[in-house]
Symmetry: C2
Subunit: 319 residues, 2 copies
């Protein structure tokens, strides 16, 4: 299960990225703040580097210019020869791969924390890539314990393809923070504060680990991707209805077979036809309309995470 084993060394090279999608404002403004005043990212054993991931998209307050940057970190894109016609985000992905990677290499940064917002009512969601380490699971557990008022949920995003596409896959380990609901292009003080607190907690956890702290085993509920549910469409490919009002804002609440999921414009309800209770998320996310994705389904499972042993004194002394 833990396909990305953590080497028993302190994390010296940590990066915090925001503005991977240029209209998700919490990360944009937090990174811009830390570029001016990086003290919150500094600890005795390391200093995390803030990076504005997609500055062109930030400048025009859109998700991306030519291509979704958070789907651009494939080996095909990163390793192909540059041409003058490459989309902006393809060029930017290669730049970021040079800066904090190269992906899957020994030179890659130790940890990458990528900051996102959603229009869905998902609260504070911690998103793991398909492959993740025991270290990252302990980080999630620590974030939950240190921020009990946020009711953080942990979501494992399983790709249909083998390769991870996201920015957080470039470093040796990574985690995505996905906070909502927040409209695109809007900066809410409450969401901003929550994200800031989570990043500060993450820095604290890395510092504790680097200083030789051991972390005991624990059990944790996580949500695992099942599949996606698309909007109903007309013959012309246009939306035939909306998310049902009984499903709207019910992210991570149980969705039972027979419950309404869409309200068609002709007044009819569409019911959920699955044969088991699932947990929807990214319900009515603005960015997914272009893919006709209405929401994602997940299952809730409990995993047992083994202890994270303390670094040896030889490692910590090397700090």
């Amino acid at each position: 299960m833990y396909s990305s084993p953590m080497s028993q060394k302190p994390l010296r090279r940590v990066v915090v990225t925001g503005g991977t999608h240029g209209n998700e404002m919490s990360g944009v403004y937090l990174v811009q703040h830390w570029l001016q005043d990086p003290r919150e990212l500094q600890r005795p054993s390391f200093s995390a580097m803030p990076v504005l991931a997609n500055p062109e998209a930030v400048a025009t307050c859109c998700r991306y210019i030519d291509y979704d940057l958070n789907r651009a970190f494939t080996s095909t894109i990163l390793n192909s020869k540059a041409t003058p016609d490459d989309p902006y985000e393809v060029r930017r992905a290669r730049e970021l791969n040079q800066l904090v990677g190269p992906k899957s290499s020994d030179q890659a940064f130790d940890f990458l924390l990528d900051l996102h917002n959603t229009t869905a009512n998902m609260g504070a969601c911690l998103i793991l890539e398909s492959s993740y380490s025991i270290f990252t699971l302990h980080l999630c557990h620590y974030l939950k314990l240190q921020n009990p008022d946020l009711s953080c949920c942990v979501f494992q995003y399983l790709f249909s393809r083998k390769e991870s596409l996201g920015l957080d896959s470039v470093a040796k380990n990574g985690l995505t923070l996905e906070l909502g609901p927040q409209p695109q292009g809007v900066l809410r003080a409450d969401i901003y504060s929550q994200m800031r607190a989570l990043v500060i907690s993450a820095m604290d956890f890395i510092e504790l680990f680097n200083q030789g702290t051991a972390f005991p085993a624990f059990d944790m509920e996580i949500y695992k991707t099942l599949d996606r549910v698309n909007f109903p469409l007309t013959e012309d490919g246009a939306l035939a209805g909306t998310i049902h009002p009984q499903l709207q804002d019910q992210d991570l609440e149980p969705l039972k077979p027979g419950a309404p999921i869409f309200k068609l414009f002709n007044g009819e309800d569409v019911l959920y036809e699955g044969d088991s209770t699932v947990f929807p998320l990214f319900i009515n996310e603005a960015a997914y309309y272009e893919k006709h994705l209405a929401f994602m389904k997940s299952e809730k499972i409990t995993i047992s995470v083994p202890a994270l042993s303390a670094l040896t004194s030889a490692s910590t002394l090397a700090l």
Copy 2:
């Protein structure tokens, strides 16, 4: 006060516009629905024409392509000679002026209802232009009475300039429906239903008037624009903070002198320094970031609206 007197004739030519801003989805989808199935806009005495106002912006799900269409209906723009370099919305404004105007002419449509969404927590807001008629005030009153669960508020938008810029100024009379909160690019079932109900009520009111119904005098609370409040900025022109969490979502609630309005990124609060209680609206509207507009201030006043007399039988018979 009622600078746009209503002629005592039935309203035969009525238009309902959506997608004036291409990422405000309730109007976009309602108009697209009515273009397929116009029955809800048909009454015995008239049929309202649905118009998708900014199809290019709708196609790319953005507010506008080159220029805010809802600021383009000035006499300068509408009457100047077309050139090949004209921005898309300047060309579109002239097309719409030909379709439902010309503005300020006898040929203009009798009534225009323009459908908008906001990311602010404004509920169902009915926006009057600076100049409005007794007819339009009676329509607002009727919409409030027929939809008591929506707690509609009436807002008079006073421009700093003499001329109205908006699409609703092209017809002889007009009203803008502004419903929120809804993120840009998202279609919520609840807001969609509310807007649909309001448009149906508006059609009903016009039909009642056309059929010779008289409407008695009444008193009504309305909000009148005072001025705008901009975000605090750094020396570089960037945001220096957010809407204060105590102000966020408090549209149309009283804002008292000394109450916090901004939370700076350095942690400081900025207080409201006015000398009287005001009523903020459009708090943290995504579209206004480009103007650095944080919210608008209004005052709440009560107006006495005279009776709307019945059309003479000669007029109604002409139907």
